[in-house]
Amino acid sequence: MSSPMPPLDLIESNDPVAMPKRVALVRPDARATLRRVEERWVMTFPNLILREVIVFQIVVIALSLAALLFNAPLEGIANPLETPNPSKAPWYFLGLQELLHYFPPVVAGVVFPGLVVVALVVIPFAKINLSARPLWSGDKKQTRLWGGGAIVVLAVFFAAFNCWPIVIPTLLVGGAMFSIGGGGQGGRLRQFLVRVTMPEWIMTWFILVATILTLIGTFFRGPGWSLVWPWNMYPPA
């Protein structure tokens, strides 16, 4: 304690021990830009926790109302000798069951779900997902060739099995994809579509197909897996 306290303006100096600075190395082939990131931080305790509690309460209230209004189905006791017609899996498997109508079981029950799981797992490791370039940002001719080829192959393949619930969304998504093949000028929708990347096109196609198949399997399939209107179906799914 013999020496006096150093003056407080020490931390305003250029002394690197007292006040470290950041240095960035800019290579000659790159362009240096400064993006000002002004992020505001808030305390977790009241801000986030409160919102989480509110979400939980909304979920509980909504589920309670649903539980009061709609009864879970319960049919007669299980009887292995009497097969109901149609006999359906839970709703999230009805897309697969619908596929069983068009494809041999090993394809619909094993190959397709296996491919979906593998595709999902692989997403974050594929380079094309990480670069996130819009589909039409590269060589337009190449894109037209490969994209068009893929759509035609898919449509022909599924059409060969008479699987129109997949063929139609494939052609729709393909049409949307090629509608902005020319360039980036146009309305708002067009400007939005121009920025969609290839994985996003694929995912959108997949979600569309899965939703359509599940809806058909749930609401439009009656005895013998024949097409019926939902109000004619027996027993109700």
Binding site: M43, A108, P124
Partner: protein
Amino acid sequence: MNGTPLPRIGIWVRESALYRSIVRHGAADTNRNRSLVIFENLFLHMHPVKVREKTLKFTHTYWLGAITISALVVLIATGILLMFYYHPSVPQAYRDMKELKFVVDNGVFYRNLHRWAAHLMVLGALLHMVRVFYHRAYRPPRQFNWVIGVVLLLVTLLLSYTGYLLPWDQLAFWGVSVGTNMAKEAPILGPPIRFLLLGGNIVSENALLRFYVLHCVLLPVALLGFLGVHIWRVRKDGGVQGPPGPASDDEVEP
């Protein structure tokens, strides 16, 4: 009820040695104590002490993860309750359903709640996944957390599927029969897995017990374990990742 005694009791409780040994910080009226609420609590410390303000916006996450976890909490609570009235035996299981309906107080309500919460959880997990995909929140360093998410989705589907058999009615029996017949088609591994799952070659009493144990213990434990890692990694990677910035700015062009 003029409100004066209650706060005084609150203060007295807060300053007692016992309360202080349980909750070591004071009331959460300073930022320091608000940090300690998170920091000193085993269950809340899955959160960081501070979060980015923008992550609280509705469109940042649509709260889909929170909705899915809320459904899970409802499922665990109602599930334990329902277990007290259920025997995994044939035909006792179906009779228990009838008893739940006609004898147990609010039995139907809890069963409905469990059923609809299960649907919500599957739907919530699917939508959460779609949200993460379109927001590109699977990018490094979050790649593996996406894979854990896929595993969580599969476990959720299995949980829902194993629960589907438990009422042992026609719907359950034939729904599960259709599903397990599909599994049979897988080459090499299919038939043995099906045999292991059903404890035999058809959906029978053995299958009911196995599905019951899977549904009530093994799969929930697996789910909670993976969920722990999932949330842990979100926190380690700096919180939830919302929509990406303008695409062209993300890269330095030559």
